[in-house]
Amino acid sequence: MYGGGNTFEHIKTNGLENEDPQKLAQFEARIQRGEKIEPNDWMPQLYRKQLIRMIEQHAHSEIIGALPEGTWITRAPGFKRKLALMAKVQDEVGHAQLLYSAAETLGKSREQMIDDLINGKSKYSNIFNYPAFTWADSCFISWLVDAGAIVNQLANARGSYGPYCRALERICAEESFHLKYGHHCVIHMATGSQKQRDMMQEAITRWWPPMMHFFGPSDKISVHSEILMRWKVKMGSNDDMRNQFLDMYVPKIRELGFTIPDENLKKNETTGRWDYTEPDWEEFKRVINGDGPCNKERLAVRRTAEERGRWVRKALLAPKTEYVAPLA
C-alpha cells in the first residue's frame, strides 16, 4: 500500500546539464514511444535517483503498513476473517519484497534501504503513523486505504521503469481480493448490529483526515515537476489522484449510510472536481517528520525485528554466496 504524494517534495532537478544530450534525447524518445526502461539501459542520474526514492518508499510503506493491520490478525472474528487477514497482510510483506527487488535493480541494496528506513532517513506512507484502535479501524484500512493505494498503483503501472511496472502488475493481481475483502468487512459492519455500525462510523470519522492527506499536499502548495511527469515517473498530480479516489469511493461510503466528517465535501458540478475543507497540511508535515502518534512505535518494531533477527542472518551467511543486484 502506498500513498505517494510526499515523495517528490524538495527534489532538486539539477545535474541534467552534465548528462550526454544525445543519450538523454534517445532515453526520452523511448519513453515517449511508450517503451519501458530496463536496468541495462542508459538513464540520467536524476531518473535513477528519483525512481529509487519512489520505489523504496513504496516498499517501506508495504512493510510498515503490515503493522496496523497485522495488529488485528490475532483478534480477527471468525475463520473467514482470520484467514483472509492473514493472507492479506502476508501479501503486503510479499509486495515489499517485490518492490525492494525492483529498486535493487537500480543499484541500491536491500539492506541499505532497510537501514535507511530504520534510522528515519527514508519515509513511508504517512497514513500508517496512525493507530488502529478497533476492528473497524482495520476494516477501514483494508478497504479505503487499500483503495487509495490502488489508485496510485494503477497509475504507476503505466510508468516507464520496467521492473517497477512488472512488480506492480503482480501486486495488482494479488490485491484484487484485498479491496473486495475490505469492502465486504465494512458492508457487514454497516448492515450488522447497532454496535457494529457505531464502531464503523467512529472509525470513519477518525480516519477521514489522514485519508485526505494520503495523496500528498494539494497541488497549489506542492512542488511541480514537469520533468518527472515527462519521464513517466510521476503519473499524475496529487489532486488528480485524490479526486479519482473521491469519485470512486465517496458514493460507496455514503450508500452505506455513513457520514463523512466534512460538510463541505461534495462534487462541484461546474468544475467536475470535488470541493472539500482544505486538509491541515501543517499536521501532515508534522506527522511525516516524526511527530505522529505511531511513528516511534513503527520504527521501533522494525528496529527490534532487525536486531532480534541478526543472529539468524549471521548464521545464514555462507562464504560462497555474494550479494549482487538482481538482473530484472
Binding site: E35, K36, E38, N40, L67, G70, T71, T74, K80, L83, A84, A87, Q90, G94, Q97, L98, S101, S109, R110, E111, D115, I118, A132, F133, G162, R166, R170, A173, E174, S176, F177, L179, K180, Y181, H184, I187, H188, T191, E255, L256, G257, E297, A300, V301, R303, T304, E306, E307, R310, L316, L317, A318, K320, T321, E322, Y323, V324, P326, L327, A328
Partner: protein
C-alpha cells in the same frame, strides 16, 4: 511504550532511539523461474535473497507460487547466469553470435537457454543445449533462431547450477486452487447493500 497491538507489547521493544549500525548482512541473489501449468514454458518471475540454493527454493516457492498456479519452479544464483548483449527493433542478438565456435577440451555439459522476446517482458525458458561451453552452445543453435522473430537478450546457464523441484515435490502446489478466501469472488455482498438500502427507505 504501551502499544495497542498485543503482539507488539509481547515484543518488548527496545527503548533506545539509536541502535548500533548493523553491518550489511548481504545474502546472495537468486533468480526464480516458474511454470504456470504443465506443458507451458518456464518464465523468469523475479529474485529472492538467500544463503544457498536450497533456501532460495524454499523462499521462491512462497514468494512466487503462493498466489498463482504452479506446476514447477527452479532457482539459480544470479552470478551464474551468463547474459548476452541487448538489441532492439529488428536486430536480433543472434546476429552477434559466432557461426561456429570450436568445442573445448573435455566433456559436454548441459546448458539451459532463455530468450527475451519482447522488451518489457521477462525471459522465457527455451530449452537445453549439450555443449562444451556457453559460446559453443549459442553458435550451435544460431541457425535455429537467426531467421525467426528477433531475440533481444539471451540468458544461458549450466544446468547443474540450477536447483529444480523434485518430481515428488510437485504436490506442494496441490491445494493452491482451494484457497478461495484469497479470491475476489469470495467477497460478494451486493445483495447486502441492496437489502440495506431497501430497509432504509
Amino acid at each position: 511504550m504501551e502499544s495497542l497491538d498485543p503482539r507488539v507489547n509481547r515484543l518488548q521493544l527496545s527503548q533506545r532511539e539509536l541502535t548500533s549500525k548493523a553491518p550489511l548482512d548481504q545474502l546472495g541473489t537468486y533468480e526464480v523461474f516458474s511454470q504456470l501449468r504443465d506443458g507451458k514454458p518456464y518464465f523468469h518471475v523475479g529474485p529472492v535473497h538467500a544463503p544457498n540454493r536450497e533456501m532460495a527454493f524454499l523462499f521462491a516457492k512462497e514468494q512466487f507460487s503462493r498466489r498463482q498456479t504452479c506446476t514447477g519452479l527452479f532457482v539459480v544464483e544470479t552470478r551464474k547466469i551468463m547474459v548476452s548483449r541487448f538489441t532492439e527493433g529488428e536486430d536480433t542478438v543472434y546476429n552477434y553470435i559466432e557461426d561456429s565456435v570450436e568445442a573445448e577440451e573435455g566433456q559436454e555439459n548441459s546448458y539451459e537457454l532463455f530468450h527475451l522476446k519482447k522488451r518489457g517482458k521477462q525471459h522465457e525458458h527455451i530449452g537445453t543445449i549439450e555443449c562444451t561451453s556457453a559460446e559453443e552452445g549459442l553458435s550451435l543453435v544460431k541457425s535455429e533462431f537467426i531467421n525467426e522473430k528477433p531475440i533481444y537478450n539471451i540468458w544461458i546457464v549450466k544446468t547443474s547450477d540450477i536447483e529444480f523441484n523434485q518430481e515428488e515435490d510437485k504436490i506442494i502446489w496441490n491445494t493452491l486452487p482451494d484457497k478461495k478466501f484469497r479470491e475476489a469472488l469470495a467477497y460478494k455482498a451486493a445483495d447486502k447493500i441492496k437489502e440495506f438500502k431497501e430497509r432504509s427507505l
